[in-house]
């Protein structure tokens, strides 16, 4: 399992998260899309580079959006720290409800 899909599962498991979507204009997103085109696979929803982890999430209307976003950050940071990784984590809430 790739780190990207591990992180996606971690994010999806946070209560209130309705989905993880591909991020446009993220560092590494163009490469991911290009690889996807060549290999015929969907690009990862979580984009991982040496310095950044980037993801876009949706949050349920019944969960507080900002608090849920921070909870996703905490879950990802813990998971990455366990692997001795400390990238910048960029999370955007793009959908509520």
């Amino acid at each position: 399992m790739s780190l990207a899909s591990e992180l996606q599962s971690v994010a999806e498991a946070v209560p209130g998260v309705t989905g993880v979507f591909p991020t446009l204009n993220a560092p590494g997103a163009v490469i991911g899309t290009a690889i996807g085109l060549v290999t015929g696979t969907a690009p990862d929803a979580v984009i991982v580079t040496d310095d950044d982890v980037t993801l876009t999430i949706g949050v349920s209307a019944s969960a507080p959006a900002v608090a849920t976003c921070r909870a996703v950050y905490a879950a990802l940071a813990d998971h990455l720290a366990a692997a001795s990784l400390t990238p910048r984590i960029r999370i955007l809430v793009a959908q509520v409800g």
Partner: protein, 188 residues
């Protein structure tokens, strides 16, 4: 997921729906599609004179409308604005059809005959006469007439869309009108 029951948007006015859709409200846009989907389909069918591409053309038109909605200056006029987009997409389709000489797709649509006898009996006789007369017009006359009278295009715009000189457009529309009136009521 949400415990909030979403407001039924079906009764909202056009302006409210168009403003909300322009701001990204997908449900408001869906309400617009449901409200005007049928009108746009019959309109496209009139221009195309065929059932063949109606599904695609109107779908494409709505997708285009979504992305252009923020540019719509008067949201209350969303209906005529949609007709304009559907008109353009229909004409694009006709052009492509002509380029591919796809004659099979044409003439499969027979307007009034598709109605049930019951509906036919109920239809206003003038409308029915017009409908029949319209489907019997020569292709180029009908297209020009529909664009002029239903879509409100100017002669210049029709000429540009159909790649015809304005003088030809004017002549075709005059002949279409004359034929329609003659068919409908014999004005002389």
């Amino acid at each position: 997921m949400s415990e909030i029951r979403p407001r039924d948007l079906d009764e909202a006015d056009d302006r409210t729906l168009a403003v909300r859709a322009a701001e990204g409200d997908v449900r408001a846009f869906e309400a617009i599609v449901r409200r005007y989907g049928r009108l746009m389909r019959v309109y496209a069918r009139r221009i195309l004179n065929s059932n063949a591409d109606v599904d695609d053309v109107v779908q494409e038109a709505f997708v285009q409308a979504w992305s252009k909605l923020p540019e719509l200056a008067d949201p209350a006029s969303v209906k005529t604005w949609l007709m304009r987009i559907v008109g353009n997409r229909s004409i694009d389709r006709i052009r492509r059809r002509r380029e591919h000489a796809d004659i099979d797709a044409v003439a499969e649509y027979a307007a009034p005959e598709s109605q049930s006898p019951h509906a036919k009996a109920q239809a206003a006789s003038l409308d029915e006469a017009l409908s029949r007369a319209l489907s019997e017009l020569p292709e180029d006359q009908r297209r020009c007439w529909v664009l002029r009278e239903i879509a409100g295009y100017s002669y210049i715009d029709i000429g540009a869309e159909l790649e015809l000189p304005v003088s030809t457009v004017r002549g075709l529309i005059a002949r279409a009108r004359k034929n329609l009136i003659r068919e409908m009521e014999g004005w002389r």
